[in-house]
Amino acid sequence: MIIPKNILGTKGLSKEEIVTILDSAEAFKEISTREIKKVPTLRGRTIINLFFEPSTRTRTSFEIAGKRLSADVINISGSTSSTVKGENLIDMALNLEAMNPDLMIIRHSHSGVAEMLSKFIKCPIINAGDGHHEHPTQALLDLYTIREAIGDLHGLNVTIVGDITHSRVVRSNIYAMKTMGINVTLVGPPTMIPLGIENMGVHVSYSLEDAVLDADVIMMLRLQTERQNEFLLPSIREYSNLFCLTTKILKRSKDDVLIIHPGPVNRGIEITLDVMKSDKSFILNQVTNGVAIRMALMYLLLGGNNDSLN
């Protein structure tokens, strides 16, 4: 199975490609449980982590993934990059490419940046999140976590709750989940449900109580509290009253429902602490699996060979 040169989004990834990525991640997950967590697969390869937006989880996850495969990983963050000196983003990427990296991981606050850069540089790119557009590795690690916990993905009901408009995680998950035959329901206040989202093949609901009933998986999104000046909500308190996942609401759902969250979590705003800590919550499994997914993608994009896993 040859996967695309770049991973710019989950849109356009075929079912076979997604399965290949998830299957590969299974093999890589084991490496992180070893005492010596390092294989020589990507020895001598250079990976640049180019992050223009704050990130703990994703950046570290990519860095650890690269290092466990023995690649040389260089981290560049927005504040230390030359764009603060006014350098054009494309020029900066071309300059980095001139140092012959094998892979660039890009996170940027504006939608379309990874796709734009892919038109100017030949080096493979993994989109680590662009604006409100896509965050493909997050969606893949979510699918991995669901598959690991439940098994067959086809026909599952997933409910995604929160600020849909401003979420790249949602868009990437919709594409990937629809491709895998999952039914997706989006829940949030109408001010946070963007126009025409139904065209992506999803159901929309404004009631968390209703939307948890048939769910096999509930994905809670972080409420971006920095958006409070945009007339979207009267208060965080009211948002919580309507959309916080509590033990009480969970009583309406299936007993074996799986709870996930891309993080970072606002404790008590979108999810209560007891739910977060309950055995239904797979939030930390997601983070563990994120390393495996990113190792798998690096391996698949850079064409490492299987023998070196041992």
Binding site: H110, S111, G112, H132, L195, G196, N199
Partner: protein, 431 residues
């Protein structure tokens, strides 16, 4: 100098001419127009002969909405390069928007534009003065002085007049001059941070949308004010189907409202934004098929009076950036002809009506002595072949800027010659 244009089909909507004719131009003035072969050419002194066989000969086109960026942003366009771009597109009269630096809100900038146009332009350049000082939306500009210096209309294009009280006073004040106010209709509080049409595509791409209602609300507000105050309103680059309905309704009431549409707004939809090509970013943004249908209806029934390009040159440094950060606008002068000819092919407009919307009607709305081939007038003439097929190549544009979403498009209809004041200012290099 004497020019003889032979064997073409002359279409001059202002004079109801649409037939084979020859045209004789002497010293820049249209001397006579006669059926083929009937011109008295015996005593002509070494005339320059243009064979217009297979071509349409019409008045030079008029574009009431261009940005020539001078003074202030000469790296994007100058009056000289803008005029060359216009001539290459078949235009012989343009009206330049005031969002230069300094803003054209005073006599000295208007005079500068006119003097640069005279020395370097070749075609007719008409300055549009600002409605408010510095386009800041705080205080009226000196409209009388601007008019005396040569301004033919007023607009804060790009910076819509948000304050309704100020807009009301602008309508009232402008009544002294009977010049139109051109509004870029956009409620800024509905579009803040937006960079494309709001809809399913913006949702998918994760880009903030600019809803059509932002246009509709301001169009209606201005119509409501105008009904009270009098004055004249010209709605710039209409893009929303509902706004077309609002203008139609206002016209039915007899209000002095006119409007224009840009070729990209009846040619492309927001689907073109997929792939994040910043040459699809303009304000107002590319809309939906539903809007295009309404625009075509409006063109057909006369609600939309004229076609204007909103020629907005931007250097590659302003466009080769994140979509969100890219400047709004595309160049339009050198792609307008084949795009409006598509309307003729689609039978939305007859050839004569299409040409009328780029000649006689804009001249009438803005009271320009242009847009016709009347005997005794300065010879501003376009000769184009409507059947030639070719690919648009932005690298060949005469504009300093190449920001067009139509690069590589296969189109039909090509400018062969443009004459301004009887002088050939452009000839197709492939001839």
């Amino acid at each position: 100098m004497t020019v003889l244009i032979k064997n073409g089909t002359v279409i001059d909507p202002a004079n109801n001419i649409n037939t084979a004719k020859d045209i004789l131009i002497i010293k820049g003035i249209i001397k006579s127009i006669e059926p083929p072969g009937k011109l008295d050419t015996v005593n002509l002194n070494n005339p320059q002969i243009i064979d217009a066989k297979g071509c349409i000969v019409c008045p030079g086109l008029i574009d009431m909405h261009v940005h020539f960026r001078e003074p202030g942003f000469e790296y994007k366009e100058t009056i000289e390069s803008g005029c060359q771009s216009a001539a290459a597109g078949g235009f012989t009269s343009v009206a330049v928007m005031p969002n230069t630096n300094p803003v054209n809100d005073n006599r000295s900038v208007t005079e500068l534009i006119l003097s640069l146009a005279k020395s370097k332009g070749g075609i007719k350049v008409h300055p549009i003065g600002a409605i408010t000082q510095g386009l800041a939306g705080k205080r009226l500009s000196e409209m009388a002085d601007l008019r005396d210096a040569g301004a033919i209309a007023f607009s804060d294009d790009g910076c819509p007049v948000m304050n309704s009280e100020l807009m009301r006073r602008a309508f009232e004040y402008s009544k002294m001059f009977n010049l139109p106010l051109i509004q870029h209709s956009e409620m800024l509080d509905l579009t803040e941070g937006g960079c494309m049409n709001e809809g399913a595509v913006s949702t998918e791409l994760g880009l903030k949308g600019m809803p059509t209602e932002a246009e509709d609300i301001m169009v209606y507000r201005d119509i409501a004010l105008l009904e009270k105050t009098g004055g004249r309103l010209h709605v710039a680059h209409i893009s929303s189907g509902n706004s077309v309905d609002l203008v139609r309704h206002a016209k039915a009431k007899g209000l002095p409202v006119t409007c224009e549409v840009a070729p990209h707004h009846f040619t492309l939809t927001d689907e073109a934004v997929r792939g994040y090509d910043t040459n699809t970013k303009m304000s107002p943004p590319l809309r939906s098929n539903k809007d295009i249908e309404k625009i075509k209806e409006g063109l057909k029934d006369g609600t939309i009076d004229i076609i204007a390009t909103d020629h907005a040159p931007h250097d590659i440094t302003d466009k080769q950036v994140e979509y969100q950060n890219a400047c709004f606008g595309i160049v339009g002068l050198e792609t307008a002809l084949p795009l409006f000819l598509k309307l003729v092919d689609e039978k939305i407009l007859s050839m004569s009506d299409a040409i009328r919307k780029l000649t006689a009607t804009p001249a009438q709305i803005f009271n320009l002595d242009a847009g016709n081939l009347s005997i005794g007038k300065e010879a501003d003439v376009l000769i184009f072949n409507p059947d030639i097929k070719y690919s648009i190549d932005v690298s060949k544009f005469h504009s300093k800027s190449k920001n067009s979403p139509f690069d590589g498009w296969k189109v039909k209809g090509k400018v062969f010659h443009t004459l301004a004041r009887g002088k050939i200012v452009y000839t197709d290099p492939d001839l």
